[in-house]
Symmetry: C2
Subunit: 400 residues, 2 copies
């Protein structure tokens, strides 16, 4: 359920050349909202990313996010920058919003122009404006309009009881390929928009988002390819009517927010291009958090590991090989590995485990890999998917 | 043609469970040779790698390399270490070589024991001893015995005219998967053995090998997965009779040696698991050599790039996206990209290039990608292959 004061929707505007595909989405707050955003750290930033970073830097409050699928508006130079600005200003004009109060996002093929003609684009926004709403159907239409190779709608919501009432948080995410988000400060083409009616100022919101992303969006990879367009934007419009949150209530909000981002991030791995399995990798008992993350992400992006899991092959050797090349110093003779709950490797040596039992556990839709370094007290989880024939199929003819 | 004083060969000993597969190879010098070696930098080092590093550290001269395929003898603990030592000492006994003068290498499945019984193993070596020789047939048998998912024999040789006669260099390589060699000092499972009858002391030989690997073995990737067993060993037995080389002759030797390692490294990418195309990536005009290498290797290990090339899709967007996330600072607005000779991207903006012409160039067996940063004078080349359905097939049931 959408938080108070938000309306969303999506329609087919013709920006995508896919027949019958919704391609234009709006996420609108009826009153200006505080905002936070994190964006791709790639040196190649798409025009909408540059536009959003500039606008968020200027500060102030924001009324809407306008997003399209089909073209990423990346590597499109000055003309692309103008297209992104035109998307925003056409939306501002249609709704009579303040100049600079709209954020934008794009996803799709890199390097082709959106060719936004402001008047034509505004007509589409006008049309969509009369079709946005607060129903689940509206949510679905908005998410459908930002999907590319995604196969299902990824959205989630939370309610948080606070002293003076109830706060709602709603979020959606798109992303199935070019997924290895790395967004810090103002990061894939993963697009995620999170709406809440909590009253939280931008600075606090930004911190909450950054911390949350480190345990969610930054712990997911489909293919190890970081996108030029990765974007997460949060809008908080304060319309819950619960006022400024007490420290205890803020804690509650953060807990719910973290749950939501983790659910959204996991859903990206579940819908990874060609994925047949969702994989959770847990690296335990490392000296530092960074060690755990580095090993987990190296395993998660290993094509050999991912193809083995596709084949339901308990090839723990590929797990330890990936861990070994991660650049973290550890004692190989202390390492334990569990594949789908089966203890395959103990203190650096293979165990006489049941291959059949391991295979059965890997035939499930959700697979858990644990690697225990017994070197410290830190740990980290990472989420990914297997590498299947369909990954090759999807990506060898993506543009055609 | 093998250098003077070397004999090689291979046979089926039963170490590999693949029916009819040669699995035991010998590379033997009739007089003790100086040696150099580089090995995987993974923290998880296979037992034969540990054994070789120890033996090379002790110094002295070396008479043979014994190698097997089928099992990698990695993650096998103390028992695996004993197996590696047993392989060496059985070979020493069979040939009456000095203790410590044999090096070893293994490739295959990680984590299963070789279970070497010295006497049994020695019988196989005895048998092979009577079958080694200097003919092309012997070379082929030796290389076949170290191949795993390789589809063709990868060997090469060079002759170098020097003041006092002629020096020969011969080398072979195996490797098609888990290829992302990273060996410095004493790096995939790529195994390469290089034999020469030049007279060069170990210290100089080691330097020549390390420098050469940086432009050859370290510039090749199939899947971005560095192995626990990567090994390159060079033996130089001085039997050319040309004596100690003058500086000018050493230069000539190094040139031929570098040509040979580059040819061997390229052949690994050409035989990459499931590869349908060989890809050369050249990154030009960077500030530092490291920048060029980092960008080239990031592109070469991008699944999205590699699947696009498999589909003959001139998706330069995936090239620039990979470059952008490589961690190198550069000005996106100065970048040019050429795909198969077609200029697709100039000064940060897409060109109106012929998709048809680009597609035709990508349908060839060898593809060249150039990315020009116009930021400096350094450059680097990297070699890889495309990602095909067969990559998934090969790796989803490797162990069965």
């Amino acid at each position: 359920m959408l938080p108070n004061g938000f309306k969303v929707g999506g329609l087919q505007s013709g920006l995508s050349k896919k027949k019958g595909k919704k391609d234009l989405a709006l996420f609108v707050s009826e009153s200006p909202a505080s905002a936070a955003g994190i964006f791709t750290k790639s040196i190649i930033k798409a025009a909408p990313v540059i536009t959003d970073i500039e606008r968020l830097k200027r500060g102030g409050r924001f009324s809407a996010i306008v997003a399209n699928s089909g073209y990423a508006n990346a590597c499109t130079g000055d003309k692309g920058k103008k297209d992104a600005e035109n998307m925003c200003s056409a939306t501002e004009k249609s709704f009579n919003f303040e100049t600079g109060s709209v954020l934008c996002a794009s996803t799709g093929v890199i390097g082709q122009y959106l060719n936004i003609i402001q008047d034509d684009f505004k007509k589409n926004v006008d049309l969509l404006k009369s079709n946005i709403g607060t129903f689940s159907k509206n949510e679905d239409e908005a998410v459908l309009a930002i999907m590319t190779t995604d196969t299902f709608i990824k959205k989630s919501d939370r309610k948080v009881k606070v002293k003076n009432g109830e706060i709602k948080i709603w979020g959606c995410v798109k992303g199935a390929g070019m997924i290895y988000p790395n967004m810090h400060g103002p990061h894939a083409t993963m697009l995620s928009f999170i709406l809440t009616d909590a009253e939280i100022e931008s600075e606090t919101l930004q911190k909450i988002l950054e911390n949350s992303a480190d345990e969610s969006f930054h712990c997911v990879s489909v293919d190890g390819d970081t996108s030029t367009n990765d974007t997460v934007i949060v809008l908080a419009n304060g319309q819950s009517g619960t006022g400024k949150l007490s420290e205890a209530d803020l804690e509650k909000f953060i807990k719910a927010f973290d749950e939501l981002t983790l659910e959204l991030a996991k859903s990206v791995a579940k819908d990874g291009e060609g994925a047949t399995k969702f994989i959770e990798i847990e690296v335990r008992n490392t000296k530092t958090k960074e060690d755990a993350k580095l090993i987990a992400s190296t395993i998660a992006t290993s094509p050999l590991f991912k193809t083995a899991i596709f084949g339901a092959d308990a090839n723990w050797g590929r797990v330890i090989a990936a861990a070994g090349r991660a650049g973290v110093k550890f004692d190989p003779d202390r390492v334990d590995i569990y594949i789908g709950g089966v203890h395959t490797f103990k203190d650096g040596v293979v165990l006489n485990f049941s291959e059949e039992e391991a295979k059965q556990s890997l035939l499930k839709k959700e697979v858990k890999i644990v690697i225990d370094l017994k070197a410290g007290k830190e740990s980290s989880k990472y989420y990914t998917c297997d590498f299947s024939y369909d990954y090759i199929k999807i990506n060898s003819d993506y543009r055609s």
